[in-house]
Amino acid sequence: MKPEALAKTGEPRPGEPTSREEGARKPTKRRDAMVLSVLPLYVFTFLFVIGPLVYMLVLSFLRRAEVWGVTLEFTFENYANILKPVYLKTFLESLKLACLTTLLVALFGYPFGYFMARQNAAWKRRIMVLLMIPFWTSSLVRLYGWIIIFRANGVLDGLLMALNITNAPLKVLYTYAAVVVGMVYALVPFMIFAVYSSAEKLDWQLVEAARDLGATPFQAFWTVSFKLTLPGLLSGIVLTFIPSMGLFFIADILGGNKVVLVGNLIQEQLMKARNWPFAAALSVVLLTLTSIMIALYRKISGVKDLEGLV
């Protein structure tokens, strides 16, 4: 290949940009060699990403066999099943919890990301490291911490009783509240990172200008900073909402059997009831919901741009 490369340099073609584009016009030999480099990704993607997803779709239209497995029979039964009140309720319950979680995450996470972006560079770096440590810590370890806090006569009960706020254990573990706290705690970093990255890019002089022109701090925030950090907030919402539909193990561990989410339902249908087609149909619906969320986000954040401000 060496002489070939030399030959190429021997004939400089003015106006031709880089070797990258030229590569396409090279003798097929070299292109074949390049194709080899992407081959592993192609094979893996076809075999282990596209394959499973297509199979999920197919499976969701198949009928469950009487004893074991599935029969090759086309049916809409699995989707019709989702509309049964029991399952529909689970879906609505999940949506409700996801909304509540997302709202609380935005409420706590937005100011954090925003304030963090206003610190000086050294503090930004320090806070980032301090955020990364719990974020990278195993989610089970953190979940365990909440069990210690919430269990009957645990840390929270001990503290509240010592301060004479309550006189009997609250037993927060295995309640809805415990699940909400666990979800918010697990997901708040995503919101912080999203808001921070868009607040970081914000030109603070615009806020100053608004203040100089007589805006109150709130007006300046609302008309300038908030609008400019909206893309971050929106992507934080997407990043929180989607996982909060599926984080079945938080509901499982902190909620006992009391909180059943779509995630728990899928797991149950898959592992216990062994109704795979139904689990597949549930997944297809969940996936569709999340895709709609992402598409909506793209649309909203695409429409709103700097123009909306001026």
């Binding site: 992407v38 993607t45 999920m56 955020l131 996982p243 599926g246 797991q267």
Partner: protein, 265 residues
């Protein structure tokens, strides 16, 4: 300049402190003599001793480490090769494949676990370390691919061109120029995916075999059935490992920015 408000700093402090409370409690009670996590009865290392005698736990630890190493390294090979090769090949539907290959980190984990479970049993892949490795590799690839791709954008093309002018072929260019420059990105991608693999519960629960346990799966079952402070001890060690990984990755990160800076001067 307007006077600096106190409130933001206080708010940041409180939220950060709250994030550490659960973790610190787990660590503190790992040194507690008592079996109960809310009564302090004195300092002791007995749970650490117990932990190291627990054969199942050690086996799970080894499984987890092997799994994380194999998945992150195979993802590093697949992801790096693809990130380097993609811009140079002309294939129809290239961007679609690129998009689909990142799906494993975009769709909810539970769906990924579910589709892998049904698919692996369709193609009769034996459940256990093999299925775990395939599943983990699938969500490690996107991290590496995206990090390397981002790093490649920042590399000055004139290096490669200069090398070619001096007679280097594609392979020489990759090995002597591109690879050293993207190595920090690969390293931080490997660390990130290593951490993700080590932490994964949801997907692992679905695709593991009957007799194969990873550390998170064991902890998960224990949290559901009843815990001993042994899990505290284990969690503390895992936290220490996390700290180490973060330190390493910031170090690699700093190297990345350093090399970028050097390039610009």
């Amino acid at each position: 300049m307007r006077k600096k408000a106190r409130f933001p700093g206080i708010y940041l402090g409180i939220i950060l402190a709250l994030m550490y409370v659960p973790i610190l409690l787990v660590i503190i009670y790992s040194f507690n003599e008592s079996r109960i996590n809310s009564v302090w009865s004195g300092f002791s290392l007995r749970w650490y001793r117990d932990l190291f005698r627990d054969k199942d736990m050690l086996e799970a630890l080894i499984n987890s480490l092997v799994l994380a190493t194999v998945s992150s390294l195979s993802a590093a090979v697949i992801g790096t090769l693809a990130a380097v090769g993609m811009p140079r090949v002309k294939l129809r539907g290239k961007s679609v494949v690129e998009y689909i290959s990142t799906l494993p980190i975009m769709i909810p984990e539970i769906i990924l676990g579910m589709v892998f479970l049904v698919y692996f049993s369709l193609i009769r892949l034996p459940f256990g370390m093999i299925t775990l490795t395939v599943a983990h590799t699938s969500f490690c690839i996107p991290y590496i691919y995206m990090l390397v791709k981002a790093r490649l954008v920042g590399i000055d093309k004139s290096y490669a061109e200069a090398a070619k002018d001096l007679g280097a072929n594609e392979w020489n260019v990759f090995w002597d120029i591109t690879l050293p420059l993207i190595l920090p990105a690969i390293a931080s991608g490997v660390l990130l995916s290593f951490a993700m693999s080590l932490d994964d519960v949801v997907i692992s629960v679905f695709v593991t075999g009957v007799n194969t346990n990873t550390l998170p799966i064991r902890i998960y079952t224990q949290l559901k059935t009843g815990v001993t402070p042994k899990v505290n001890a284990l969690s503390t060690l895992m936290f220490a490992a996390t700290l180490l990984i973060i330190m390493l990755s910031t170090w690699f990160g700093r190297k990345t920015t350093l090399s970028v800076k050097r390039r610009n001067t």
